[in-house]
Symmetry: C2
Subunit: 301 residues, 2 copies
C-alpha cells in the first residue's frame, strides 16, 4: 500500500503561516465555541487550539450552552479584538446548526462555511470585492481534499487540474461533499456524487444530473473520496475499486476495507490536519484583508 | 517586505519523496555529469548530491571532460543500474549544450529538459503512453515556479489556476522562460514574454504574438518573474512595478532593485531548492514508471 501522511502537507502550510505571522509581527486572535460534551468534538477543539498556538495565533476556547452560543457568536462578531471564529459542531445536530453557521461574520469565518462564502462558491465568484483584491474563502475540508489531491498523480500540473479524471464522492452534505463535488467538476473532473439516496453525475458543462450506480461509478473512478460518518455505510471493497485508484477517507470512521486500501494506488487515511492548516491560512488571509486597520469585520459587507 | 522562503516548500516535497522511497524500500541511483570547472556549477552539483542523499537516493558525481561527456551519458542511458541523470551546464556554453541535453534518455531525464519532454509540453500532451498511465515530465525550473506561485494569492484554488492574471516573464530561453510562458498561458494567464529583443504577449487562445513594451507590461502585471543571468540587465525598479505584485527572481544574479522588493506584495528571492525538489520527485516518478521491472529506460520509447 502507498499511503500519504497528510501531516507533511499540513506542516508545510503551518510553517508558511507561522513565518508570515512572525515576519509581520501580527497579533491575531481566534476564538472557538464549544457546546457539545462529545469527546470527539472536544478533542478537535483542543487540536485546533494547539495548531493555532503552534503558528503564533492566540486562541481562546469558549465552552458554553446551546441557548447562549448564538449571542456569544454575535458578540465575537462585534468584538474588534476577535479576528477569527471556529464553531465546533454538532451543537443541536439538526437544521439549527445551519443557522448558527450563518451567524458567523464572513470576515471572521476561518472555516469558510457560512452562507456568504457558499453563495460565492456556487456563483463561481473568486473575489469578495469589486476591486478584486480579496479572494473568496473556500470551505476548509473540501479545500483540504483539493490540496491533498494536488500532491497526487491524479492532478495535472498544467491547465485544468482534473480534466480527464473521474471522481466518486460519497457524501453530499452542504459543508463537505456538495461543495467538493462542485469544485472538482469546476476543475474539469467528471464527478459521481453519492448520498444515502444514490449517485448522480456532475460535470462543469452539463446541468443534467444523470443517475449513476455505485458499481459503475467505482469501476470508472481514478479517485474515490469518502466522508460517511456512519457505521452502516457499506465500506468500499477491493473488488469494486479500479486498480491504482487514489483513495481518500475524510470520515472519522474508516470507509474503506483493508483490502481496498491495499489495492489503492495511494491511500490517504484522513484530511483533518490539512483542514485545520487551511483554517489557519484563512485566518491569516482574513486578518490581512479585513482586520489590519481595526475595522470591525462586518463593516465592509 | 513580504518574502517567501522557497526552502519550506522544497522541504515539503523532499519529505514526501523520502517517505515514499523509505516506505517502498527503493534502491534508486542517480548520476550527475560535471564538466565545467566553474565554481557555481560545482556548488550546484554538490547541492543536488546532498539533496539526493537526504531523501535516500544514491548519487554518483562523474567529473569528466567535454570530449568524453557524450559517451558517458550514452553509457549511463544503457546502464540499468542508473535510474536518473543530472547534467550540469554549461558544458560548451553554446548550441552543443542542446545536443548534450537531448542525448539523455527521457526516462532518466530527471530535469525534464530533453526534446522528448519539450515536444510533449508544447503539444500539450499530458501522458507519455497510450494507456495514459505515465504522466509527462515538465521542465524542472518552470515547474518549480508554478509550484511556488500555487502558494501565492495569484493562484486560483479552483478552475484555471491563473485566469485573469497578467504575468511578465523576463527570459525566453528553451529551458526556463519559453516553457514557463507557455505553461502560464495554458493555465489561463496573459503572459508578457521578454528576451533581449523585447516583449510579446502570449495567451492560451490566440496565436498572435503582439509586441509589448516593458513599461506597459510591468504596469499591468500582478506577477513578475525574472531569470536574467546578466549584470547588464536593467533591474526592475519600484516605480515600474504594480503595487502588491508577486515578484520571483529565478536568476543567481538579483534582477530586482531593493526598492522593488520592498514594494512587492510578495518577493521570492530564488527557486533553486524547489527546482531540485522537483528533480527528486521526477526521479521517483521515472523510477516507478519505467525502472521497477529492470528494463533499460529507452526500451519503451
Amino acid at each position: 500500500m502507498n499511503s500519504l501522511d497528510p501531516d507533511i502537507l499540513a506542516a508545510f502550510h503551518r510553517d508558511d503561516v507561522k513565518a508570515r505571522i512572525r515576519q509581520k509581527g501580527y497579533a491575531l486572535h481566534v476564538t472557538g465555541f464549544l457546546v457539545s460534551g462529545d469527546m470527539a468534538c472536544r478533542t478537535y477543539a483542543e487540536y485546533t487550539r494547539s495548531r493555532c498556538e503552534a503558528v503564533g495565533l492566540r486562541f481562546t476556547l469558549v465552552s458554553t450552552d446551546r441557548d447562549k452560543v448564538a449571542n456569544l457568536i454575535r458578540q465575537a462578531n462585534a468584538d474588534q479584538r476577535v479576528h477569527g471564529i471556529f464553531v465546533y459542531y454538532p451543537i443541536f445536530g439538526d437544521a439549527r446548526d445551519s443557522e448558527i453557521k450563518d451567524l458567523v461574520d464572513p470576515h471572521k469565518d476561518v472555516e469558510g462555511l457560512c452562507a456568504h462564502w457558499m453563495r460565492k462558491l456556487y456563483a463561481n465568484e473568486r473575489f469578495d470585492d469589486p476591486g478584486r483584491l480579496h479572494k473568496c474563502l473556500l470551505p476548509c475540508t473540501p479545500l483540504a481534499v483539493l490540496k491533498l489531491l494536488e500532491e497526487t498523480e491524479a492532478h495535472s500540473e498544467m491547465g485544468m487540474p482534473f480534466v480527464g479524471q473521474t471522481v466518486s464522492v460519497f457524501n453530499r452534505s452542504d459543508v463537505v461533499g456538495k461543495p467538493l463535488a462542485y469544485m472538482l467538476a469546476n476543475d474539469g473532473a467528471l464527478v459521481y456524487s453519492f448520498d444515502i439516496d444514490g449517485g448522480v453525475a456532475i460535470t462543469r458543462d452539463s446541468a443534467a444530473r444523470e443517475p449513476v450506480g455505485r458499481a459503475q461509478a467505482l469501476r470508472e473512478s481514478g479517485v474515490v473520496i469518502t466522508a460517511v460518518p456512519s457505521r452502516s455505510f457499506e465500506k468500499i471493497r477491493a473488488d469494486e475499486l479500479r486498480p491504482g485508484a487514489v483513495c481518500i477517507n475524510v470520515s472519522s470512521i474508516q470507509n474503506f476495507e483493508d483490502g481496498a486500501k491495499e489495492k489503492a494506488g495511494l491511500y490517504i487515511p484522513r484530511v483533518g490536519p490539512v483542514t485545520v492548516a487551511m483554517c489557519l491560512r484563512n485566518a491569516l488571509r482574513l486578518f490581512e484583508d479585513h482586520h489590519l486597520d481595526g475595522r470591525a469585520g462586518h463593516a465592509a459587507l
